[in-house]
């Protein structure tokens, strides 16, 4: 249980049986009035954002969240399947829960899966992943229109801009937080 005075940015609480994370928090106290705790909360399952104002008498249940190390196995019919690296139990997530992370999922990649009441609700990727370029146009020297980058497609069907020297079959490192090219992988 949390009290209103425990509220702060990043705290995870449970409202109407759903987990929320506080993404913005402000303490206010109008002249001689009561303390008000104004929160912007993001539903950790649906992503919906709520604005709520709490008072010092309010209390909150902590969200029953658990993180597990999982290995990505395969996707089928818009479902992404993972395996717990410790007990080999399998779980799956829908495409909307995986979101943009699908751009970086390759076989055997290890991720952190977040579970709420034992139910998988999302994954956290490593900050950097290595992926193979599967489609790249050859670089035409002196092409000033495309400037100093060109689009390529990766093994996950993700398309991004890279420096012109990157060719088909090259392995590159991508920052999963920004979706941007970082460097070529030295074999």
């Amino acid at each position: 249980m949390y009290n209103a005075s425990d509220l702060k940015k990043g705290l995870k609480i449970q409202i109407d049986k759903e987990p929320y994370v506080i993404i913005d928090f402000q303490f206010s106290k109008p002249g001689k009035g009561q303390a008000l705790y104004r929160c912007k909360l993001r539903n950790m399952i649906s992503g919906i954002i709520l604005d709520r104002t709490y008072r010092s008498v309010d209390s909150f249940e902590s969200a029953n969240l658990e993180q597990r190390r999982m290995q990505y196995l395969y996707s089928q019919d818009e479902h992404f399947h993972f395996m717990d690296v410790q007990n080999y139990e399998q779980s799956s997530l829908g495409a909307d829960q995986v979101g943009d992370a699908k751009n970086y999922l390759t076989d055997n990649l290890e991720v952190d899966m977040l579970l709420f009441d034992g139910r998988p609700i999302g994954i956290t990727l490593p900050n950097f992943v290595d992926l193979t370029v599967t489609k790249a146009d050859p670089w035409v020297k002196g092409d000033s229109v495309s400037g100093d980058s060109k689009p390529v497609t990766l093994e996950t069907d993700y398309t991004l801009r890279v420096p012109p020297f990157v060719e088909e079959g090259t392995r590159i490192t991508v920052d999963t937080r920004t979706g941007e090219y970082v460097t070529r992988v030295k074999e």
Binding site: Q26, P30, K32, G33
Partner: protein, 292 residues
């Protein structure tokens, strides 16, 4: 900037014939107010404001006094709050809250010029003109202009503070500072009720660019009425499971001989925030609690 503001405040009050005083920070009985919690200190409490002791000095015969001191309030921490903060309080006999509004305009204007911020300041992208006269609106007007209901309805549904914070405060104090005055009587525990309208008390809050800077009132000098109001607040605190403070008997006794007067508490940290255009109180103190 902070040092400049403190020196300019002292110069203003000394020039106006005020006497600087110091009262004890550790007191046996803080004023009982529903939403202000004191920090215990060795069987007594750290004062939440120097109000009670300063009023006793007024009752003793002093006519114009001011004090700049740290005050302590439990569990207050936010972008505009610290559990230890600095208050400027001043008290004066023979005037009422309206007189203090004029003095506020003169003092803040002079301090701003002396620290080089000038007559026109910018706080968080809001231009504010500090030249007199400043805006003066009643709580009733503010609720009808910016709120979604009257203050009576807001009080009844316990939404007064919420509407104040979310709808009204952001609209106050630009392009001129705003005195918000005539607060509902139940929200002004130590101020005099207005003779022409007993539903409200002679209390005001000063806002500049949405930031609350000061709280003032015509002092309640009727000791019986004051005792009754403290008892009410104590009862409310008891019901909410909060610490119930002893009655400040010597203060109540002093009220029997206290002359008509008015007093005001101004947040010095907030004034520095304003004149230095700093968005949080953290930026205007040497160390925050988290940095100790």
């Amino acid at each position: 900037m902070r040092a400049g503001v403190l020196q300019a405040i002292r110069r203003f009050f000394v020039d106006q014939g005020y006497l600087e005083v110091e009262t004890p920070y550790i007191i046996p009985a803080p004023a009982s107010e529903a939403h202000i919690d004191a920090i215990p200190a060795d069987g007594a409490y750290l004062h939440t404001s120097p109000e009670l002791c300063m009023k006793r000095l007024i009752a003793c015969g002093y006519t114009k006094i001011f004090q700049i001191c740290p005050c302590f309030r439990k569990a207050e921490r936010g972008t505009q709050h610290l559990p230890q903060f600095t208050l400027l309080e001043w008290y004066r006999t023979g005037t009422d809250y309206m007189g203090l509004m004029d003095e506020c305009e003169a003092m803040i204007g002079q301090v701003s010029r002396e620290v080089g911020a000038g007559d026109e300041i910018t706080y968080r992208h809001n231009r504010v003109n500090l030249r007199s006269p400043w805006e003066r609106i009643t709580v009733q007007e503010a609720f009808s202009r910016y709120g979604s209901m009257t203050w009576e309805e807001a009080l009844k549904t316990d939404r007064f503070d919420e509407i104040m914070v979310t709808r009204i405060e952001p609209c106050l104090g630009a392009p001129r500072p705003t005195f918000l005055y005539d607060y509902p009587a139940p929200l002004a525990g130590l101020s005099r009720v207005k003779r022409s309208d007993p539903r409200v008390a002679e209390r005001f809050e000063l806002y500049v660019a949405g930031l609350e800077i000061a709280n003032a009132f015509s002092e309640l000098t009727n000791h019986l009425e004051q005792r009754e109001r403290f008892e009410k607040e104590r009862e409310r605190r008891r019901k909410e499971g909060k610490t119930v403070y002893p009655l400040p008997e010597r203060f109540l006794q002093a009220l029997t001989i206290m002359p008509e007067s008015a007093g005001i508490a101004l947040g010095v940290d907030r004034l520095v925030m304003l004149l230095a255009d700093q968005p949080t109180i953290d930026q205007v103190v040497a160390f925050t609690p988290e940095e100790l």
